[in-house]
């Protein structure tokens, strides 16, 4: 398609005469009067500017913004995407109703036009500032005076904003940051901004600032519960998925918990269109969702039981396509690309066995380099054990160079030991559908086993067959007799009992799915999303899904595999983005923090537990979690170097460095010594000690309190210190954490300063101390990309930021300047020390062999930084130079280059280019003084947008794999996408080692295509896709293999939530918060168009059955409450909802049409007033293989779907 579409092939010619039809029935054309000028004028415009929307939706759509008389009028989608090819639908016209309404915000009456500070704080500030002269001293006094601090903190969220000036607020915020850094530590200055891909320069501005001062940056993907923990567990890679045009290549597509038309609106057409190509489409959804409408089949399992359905489908696939009949395509794939043939040690358990660890070279007496990370399989031709190429041991060893690949040579891995077995032995396996508590129980089935090197082993495949209950002759244990056997996991009839999906339907869909994959060589796909990923045990649900696409050879095939579509993003130019965003050009690393763990402690949700982590342990565990509360697990993960933990220690890290200097020891030695002596503690053990409070929080590009903040009311009470509707009681003494200090009076108002940068008044803005006016997406330069399509887009200003709005980029530059000025006297140059967790895609993956948990605190080993505890890295910070460092690319890129996913790039030529393109500052450093400079630098330094780097990266990788890869980038080695290119139109990216798929030759992107086609290993222990994982805590949880775990039993943990007042009718129901049709998170829900098309405020969707129980009619006001809080909303009663489940669509903020509640007398809550956090221990694992930390790669999720709520009709008279 050309730059502009062809015009309609006919145009207006004449306007001449009127004619009434002969029968007087109608009138054609009248005199050519000028009456129609009104419509013509309305359509007329002065210019059209290309931009996009920086909202967290993965759309990254190209829009045309119309401008008339200097005002933005409206926006329409651009249609000039590069073609997908003649045999496919195109990407045009990407967009959705929400984006189409965005321009409303530009001149909205609730637009933030000026800087604001709450009056009570501003008065305190002006008085102290005036009296003391020194802004830093002023902030110290206000926050150090309990009375003053309480006064302004209690006023949060209660109006009273006063207009200020940029000068005044910048000084206030900078003074707070300087004081916090000096008095408490830079890690107490916290920044929260999600999803760089949705506007990279705006993200980078704030993260670069925080990185340079040593602040803590919170992760978001895990916090949002969108991070599919199964992905790193199985693939050692975080979310790589097909672009939407690849759905077109699928011939069987299951939408499972992903409501594509609502949450991937611009892409949905590829699905409706693929149906005409013969693709079968199945919807799995508990309600009759928008996507069900165009599906062929609708399966409606009870919410949260999807894992059982997937396990039953796996049972059918293993039975019919592996046991009853061999499908060469499937077995060939399994041998080469999965861990199914690898050997697992069986450990004695009573009179039977249980699965232990992978057999490794070490077990075979081999002492070669990294032998403990070389996993073993059996050659089906010889019966000999073999360590194939491509294991983790090959990845990080000298001897592995050239051998980290999936080439099996002459070896034919044995999937099963059935023909080699010395004996058939019983193994105990976990099941969670039965048992008294969350930990479930066990069942016994058999596997063929062989003695190797003195150990009894079997294969992952044989264990999988047992886990899925696929019987084979001669194996001991209890097995289902048929699909109709409902007593035995994992038959279709067993799943029917759990899910309500008819067994015959389950079997039919599974059979069709696998058969389609067989016929098409892997073109069956499962699109999955929030509906299945927001659960506490979503990792088990997902592993059951992934098993289906791996067993059927679909992963790494165009048109096949998983398609995880919730919260996933793809900053295509990732290398440039992350190095500049985290200031890796000046210092490495930065204080990345796992968001969920941070908020869990900061908002004191850890104090309100009804059960402990050990209840989740399966009887197969060794008791490693015994007695542990969730917060204990987190504290252990912090000290073992698994997860980051910031604020880190109970002392200012700047002071720790000074102490070390005074003591004449290295900072690391000093800290280890202090920790061993018990004089220094991790802040995660004392979250309620004022020394460990996070003190200053800046939120930009986000709505923490109105959107993502699970346990909203706990945030309000403990973090902010204002009114909250928490009704929960604190943890009983017997259930409290052992390793955390418990203070009798829980702190309220931990945070000294909440700064929000936004263009609209969200809850986060309403509760902030300082609100800064941001430029909108039509008022700035920036970059956007997504994984739903392969293009990079520009933001462009259609108008300059109006009133006093500023771009995020300029806001943080100004803040950095003021910080530097104040720091000259107050801080100067200091040494900071970072505790850095064992990192993914580095040799840290070898730190803790076998995933065996050894805790130095309990004397099980020595505290060795980088091995048994976090690395301790000193960084010198010239605090007076922050402003200048923001504006220039630092020298580390010249010497260290850039590194992404273990591949290091030499970027010398790129820096030279940027010197001439952007100009230089200071010591000949390339400039980043403007957002355009930042965009240019991001593009130049990334392999997806710079073909030279792609070629270089592949050649580097080739030296490790010994396979051919560089040809993938050959066609584009001379291509470089500049910022100017992106401003002209959507720019397709280059195949690069930063990602796992290939666009080479115009292909559609699909994840892991390079692994499958080029024998490049996955970033896992075995180098293969892993069905089996063997970390100690995974054994503890009974999750070595895919397994069904039901939703948490909230009733048993927290008791009956009903108040039962006066016999009022109430109903307790599952509370789900799916993504809304009328907003992207909280964005757009306050927009006049979306309010007009929805019901004008918060609603709760409920079934006709539940509504009848409590006497609720459509549009009645209801209240929903549980121990976490209460919301007031209108009921939408619909028969498309299943009984027993209600929806309050995600991110219903409290700022539109929310009355006060009967229950609390206060303003009703957000959707998150009824949710709260729980940490799953397996999400905290680190230090071992793919279980190592990276920002947004691994970490506990802010899961939110296991909750229940009580609903009742309320008085229909409401007060606002």
């Amino acid at each position: 398609m050309g730059a502009m579409p062809d015009p309609l092939p006919f145009t207006r010619r004449f306007l001449t005469r009127a004619e009434v039809s002969a029968d007087g029935r109608t009138l054609h054309q009248i005199d050519p009067s000028a009456w129609d000028r009104f419509y013509r004028d309305r359509w007329a415009h002065d210019k059209v500017v290309r931009s996009t929307h920086g909202v967290n939706c993965t759309g990254s759509c190209s829009w045309q913004v119309f401008v008339k008389d200097g005002l933005i009028t409206w926006e329409h989608q651009a249609t000039d995407y590069p073609s997908v090819g003649p045999e496919s639908p195109e990407y045009e016209p990407r967009g959705c109703p929400r984006g189409a309404s965005f321009s409303w915000y530009t001149y909205s009456p609730s637009r933030v036009r000026y800087p604001y500070v709450r009056g009570v704080l501003l008065d305190l500030w002006r008085e102290a500032r005036q009296r003391l002269g020194d802004p830093v001293a002023a902030w110290a006094e206000i926050t150090g005076d309990p009375g003053k601090a309480r006064t302004y903190k209690r006023a949060r969220g209660k109006g009273g904003f006063v207009r200020s000036t940029w000068d005044e607020v910048t000084e206030l915020v900078a003074a707070a940051h300087v004081h916090t850094t000096k008095a408490h530590g830079p890690d107490r200055v916290v920044g929260f901004s999600p999803i760089p891909a949705m506007s990279m320069a705006s993200f980078a501005a704030g993260t670069r600032y925080h990185s340079l001062i040593g602040g803590t940056l919170l992760s978001f993907y895990d916090w949002y519960a969108d991070l599919p923990v199964a992905s790193p567990q199985v693939w050692g890679d975080q979310t790589d998925v097909p672009e939407s045009a690849d759905w077109w290549n699928s011939s069987y597509l299951v939408m499972w918990g992903s409501n594509i038309p609502v949450t991937r609106t611009p892409d949905a057409h590829f699905l409706t269109e693929a149906r005409y190509r013969g693709t079968k489409v199945v919807a799995v959804s508990p309600d009759y969702a928008d996507n069900v409408k165009f599906a062929d089949d609708w399966l409606a399992p009870h919410p949260g039981t999807d894992g059982a359905l997937a396990m039953a489908m796996g049972h059918v696939v293993l039975t019919e396509f592996f046991r009853d009949r061999e499908v060469p395509y499937f077995t060939g794939y399994a041998r080469r690309y999965t861990d199914l043939p690898f050997l697992v040690c069986l450990e004695q358990r009573g009179d039977g066995y249980q699965a232990g660890k992978f057999l490794t070279s070490t077990d075979l007496g081999d002492d070669e380099e990294s032998a403990a990370f070389r996993t073993v399989l059996l050659d089906d031709r010889t019966g000999e054990t073999v360590v194939p190429n491509g294991t983790l041991g090959h990845r990080w060893s000298e001897s592995g160079k050239g051998n980290w690949n999936l080439d099996l040579g002459d070896v034919e891995p044995a999937l099963t030991l059935y023909r080699w077995a010395d004996e058939h032995v019983p193994v105990d396996l976990p099941r969670f559908d039965e048992g008294a508590g969350e930990g479930g129980t066990t069942l016994r089935r058999g596997v063929p086993a062989l003695r190797v090197g003195g150990r009894l082993v079997t294969t992952v495949f044989d264990l999988l067959m047992a886990q899925y209950g696929v019987a084979r002759d001669g194996l001991p244990g209890s097995w289902p007799q048929s699909y109709e056997d409902s007593m035995q996991p994992c038959t279709p009839a067993w799943a029917e009992e759990i899910t309500s999906v008819p067994a015959a339907t389950t079997a039919r869909i599974a059979r069709e799915f696998a058969r389609n994959a067989e016929r098409s060589q892997g073109r069956s796909m499962i699109a999955m999303g929030a509906g299945t990923n927001h659960w506490f045990h979503s990792d088990t649900i997902y592993r059951a899904f992934l098993a289906l696409v791996m067993l059927t050879g679909c992963q790494g095939r165009n048109g096949g595999g998983w398609a995880h579509y919730v919260g996933q993003e793809k900053a295509r130019p990732v290398t440039g983005m992350q190095h500049l965003a985290f200031a890796f050009d000046w210092q490495r690393p930065t204080r990345h923090m796992a968001g969920t763990a941070f908020w869990y402690l900061a908002s004191d949700q850890w104090r309100y537990e009804g059960f402990r982590a050990d209840e989740l342990a399966n009887p197969l565990g060794k008791g490693l979690l015994r007695g542990k509360a969730f917060a204990d697990c987190n504290a252990q993960a912090a000290r073992l170097g698994w997860l980051p933990s910031h604020p880190t220690f109970n002392r200012n890290p700047l002071d720790l460095a000074d102490e070390a200097r005074r003591a004449g020891s290295s900072v690391a030695e000093h800290i280890v010594g202090e920790l061993k002596a018990g004089r220094l503690r991790f802040a995660a053990e004392q979250p309620d000690d004022p020394a460990n409070f996070p003190r200053a929080l800046t939120v930009w590009r986000a709505n923490l309190l109105g959107s993502s903040g699970k346990g909203n009311e706990y945030f309000l009470r403990h973090l902010l210190g204002t009114d909250a509707a928490v009704r929960s009681v604190e943890t009983a003494e017997s259930q409290r954490p052992h390793e955390l200090d418990w203070t009798e009076d829980a702190p309220e108002g931990k945070l000294d300063l909440l700064t929000t940068i936004d263009f609209r008044m969200t809850s986060t803005a309403l509760f902030a101390d300082v609100v800064l006016p941001a430029a909108t997406w039509y008022e700035k330069h920036d970059l956007s990309s997504t994984d739903m399509h392969p293009f990079v887009h520009a933001f462009n200003p259609a108008i300059a930021p109006p009133w006093q709005a500023r771009t995020d980029y300029d806001t943080f530059l100004a803040l950095a300047d003021r910080f530097s000025a104040l720091a000259t006297d107050h801080l100067g140059t200091r040494t900071d020390v970072l505790a850095v967790p064992l990192a993914h895609d580095t040799p840290d993956e070898l730190a803790q062999p076998g995933g065996r948990v050894r805790d130095w605190k309990h004397g099980e080993c020595e505290p060795v930084p980088g091995r048994t505890m976090p690395k301790l890295v000193p960084i010198e910070r010239d605090y007076a130079a922050i402003g200048e460092k923001m504006r220039a690319i630092g020298p580390l890129l010249d010497t260290l280059g850039t590194t992404t996913k273990g591949i290091t790039y030499d970027v010398g030529p790129e820096l030279a280019y940027l010197r001439s393109q952007n100009g230089v500052r200071g010591d000949n450093r390339p400039s980043l003084a403007t957002a355009e400079h930042m965009c240019e630098a991001i593009l130049a330094l990334s392999a997806t947008t710079n073909g030279r780097l792609a070629g270089q990266g592949f050649r580097t990788l080739e030296r490790r794999t010994g396979t051919r890869l560089a040809d993938l980038a050959e066609e584009n080695e001379g291509k470089r996408i500049t910022f100017e290119d992106t401003r002209k139109g959507p720019q397709p990216v280059v195949t690069s080692p930063e990602w796992s798929g290939s666009e080479t030759g115009g292909r559609r992107y699909s994840a892991f295509v390079i692994n499958v086609e080029r024998d490049k290993p996955w970033h896992t222990l075995t180098g293969r896709q892993q069905f089996f994982v063997d970390h100690d805590w995974m054994i503890e949880l009974g999750e070595q293999l895919p397994v069904y775990r039901p939703p948490l039993n909230m009733h048993s943990h927290f008791g009956d939530q009903t108040l039962g007042e006066d016999g009022r009718a109430e109903v307790t129901v599952r509370y789900l918060t799916p993504h809304s049709k009328w907003s992207i998170h909280s964005e757009y829900q306050d927009n006049a168009y979306m309010l007009a098309l929805s019901r004008g405020g918060p609603t709760i969707w409920m079934s006709t059955v539940d509504a009848e129980k409590i006497g609720v009619a459509d549009n009645d006001w209801v209240e929903a409450y549980n121990r976490n809080g209460v919301v007031a909303a209108r009921a939408v009663v619909s028969h498309r909802m299943p009984a027993g489940t209600v929806f309050m669509y995600h991110a219903k903020d409290r700022n539109v049409n929310v009355p006060r509640t009967e229950l609390s007398g206060k303003r009703g809550g957000t959707h998150n007033s009824l949710t709260r956090l729980l940490l799953k221990p397996s999400h905290l694992i680190g230090g071992y293989g793919q279980f190592t930390y990276a920002f947004n790669y691994y970490g506990p999720t802010g899961n939110q779907r296991d909750e229940v709520t009580v609903i009742r009709r309320r008085s229909q008279e409401v007060t606002y």
Binding site: L8, F10, F14, D36, H76, C96, Y276, S1094
Partner: protein
């Protein structure tokens, strides 16, 4: 034969995802101003449902469209010219604002300006008409995704007209749920009731392209057009007091651009094209006695743009040659006439609407699929159209004056196309049996497939 040209539209409901982008882009462009707050030239309804304005399809109540008098002659359902003149000042068939909805605004600036107080500031709904506090009780899209359907959707006139055995299958229960989305704009009818009803001569159909417009200078605000239009797609601007309606984006059409709703349709389901028709045949076609013959009568009034006689007559009538080219490449003509998969909305209104629809497929009822014992062949993945959730009688009530065979024929074609393409895509085989059942040739199927599935920009418009 008197050839005339008309810009017409086809919407493929089978691809509509109910996203309402069309509504927003249209409203932003045309009606976000005083007097048109409640006006949506383009709106999207969830079916089953009563629609916007409420029950607009109930012509017993609103008296929209045409009927045949005892002599079989067309007359406006709203009565004679004399009767309409007599009721100029008290039109009994005019929807009130409550039949649409009370448009809402909010006291947005409260969020910034609220003084310090005991509660978190909130904005509350105000009537956009009076500025006073109000409670929201209905809206522009109240029934979206079956919201409140069990309470309201029983009033959908299409349900009332179902034969008893079909009505029996429609229950507002979870297990039997079905829905689809119906985007609607002005139909720009060949036989527009609004034009005929206008006492001021302000409404007219543009000669060169058939777009129906309201001359804002001539309109005197009598509102007869509002009641006469059976689709309720003429609105009163309560600020100017004049009628306004979808203009088919004529300033864009004249510049060779598609309408806003079409170009911004994310589902890529809208087709625009030129259709030639015989102006002399319209009255007769709209007057056929049996409602079920109206569809074929309208198709018969369309002229084959490849027919040399038509071309000759059209040129003689002053239709330019490039327009005739356009008519020959018209996707609307292809879908409506050549492939016969597009159908008019409520042909029984006799206005000869020019926005046509391809009816939607839907998932099967589980009960049906699992009662069959024959679903063991994993290669036979598609279901019979008789098992689909949306009762065909319901679709027939919308698109074929109740003639189920017409709707079934279209769904069969869509279904056969899918089966044919699946065989070709997976195995490279030709499923002749599917062709026979629908009377299509392989080339027909491939053409329909390209048009509906690949649907490139320049083939949609």
């Amino acid at each position: 034969m008197r050839p005339m040209a008309q810009v017409a539209m086809v919407m493929n409901l089978d691809k509509c995802i109910g996203c309402h982008t069309c509504s927003v882009t249209c409203k932003q462009t045309w009606t976000n101003r005083d007097g048109t707050e409640y006006v949506w030239f383009n709106n999207v309804e969830t079916k089953p449902g009563i629609g916007y304005p409420k029950h607009y399809e109930d012509q017993e109540r609103w008296k929209g469209g045409w009927e045949l008098d005892r002599k079989g002659r067309l007359r406006l359902r709203s009565g004679s010219r004399v009767k309409r003149l007599a009721s100029l000042f008290a039109n009994p068939d005019l929807p009130s604002i409550d039949d649409y909805y009370e448009p809402i605004t909010y006291d947005y600036d409260t969020l910034l300006k609220a003084p310090a107080g005991p509660h978190t500031p909130v904005i509350r709904p105000k009537s956009a008409l009076t500025g006073k506090d109000t409670a929201i009780t209905w809206g522009a899209n109240w029934e979206d995704d079956l919201g409140g359907a069990a309470e309201h959707a029983g009033g959908d006139p299409n349900l009332a007209s179902l034969p008893p055995e079909a009505a029996e299958r429609v229950r507002f229960e979870f297990e039997r749920t079905f829905m689809f989305h119906l985007p609607r704009i002005c139909e720009h009818c060949l036989n527009p009731a609004c034009v005929s009803a206008c006492p001021s001569g302000a409404m007219y159909k543009r000669e060169e392209d058939g777009i129906v417009l309201v001359d804002q200078d001539r309109c005197r605000g009598w509102r007869m057009c509002v009641s006469a239009c059976p689709y309720k797609k003429v609105y009163v601007n309560h600020h100017t007091g004049k009628a306004e309606k979808c203009t088919f984006c004529f300033p864009r059409i004249e510049a060779g651009q598609p309408t806003v709703c079409a170009e911004t349709c994310v589902g890529r389901l809208r087709y625009l094209g030129l259709v030639l028709y015989d102006a002399d045949a319209v009255t007769a076609a709209a007057s056929v006695p049996d409602e079920r013959d109206l569809l074929e009568a309208q198709r018969a009034a369309f002229l084959d743009p490849a027919d040399p006689a038509v071309i000759e007559a059209a040129l003689a009538a002053g239709i330019p040659a490039d327009w005739l080219d356009a008519a020959r490449r018209s996707p609307v003509y292809e879908l409506a006439v050549r492939h016969r998969v597009a159908l008019p909305l409520h042909p029984e209104y006799r206005t000869m609407p020019m926005v046509w629809y391809i009816p939607p497929l839907s998932p099967v009822l589980d009960a049906v699929s699992d009662m069959d014992g024959d679903n063991t062949d994993p290669d036979d993945v598609f279901h019979a159209i008789r098992d689909l959730r949306i009762p065909m009688e319901y679709l027939a009530s919308l698109f074929s004056a109740g003639d189920v065979d017409v709707v079934a024929g279209v769904l069969m074609k869509l279904s056969a196309m899918r089966g044919y393409m699946r065989a070709r895509t997976l195995d490279g085989t030709v499923a002749d049996d599917l062709l026979t059942a629908t009377g299509m040739s392989g080339a027909d199927v491939e053409r329909l497939y390209r048009l509906l599935a690949i649907a490139k920009y320049d083939e949609r418009y």
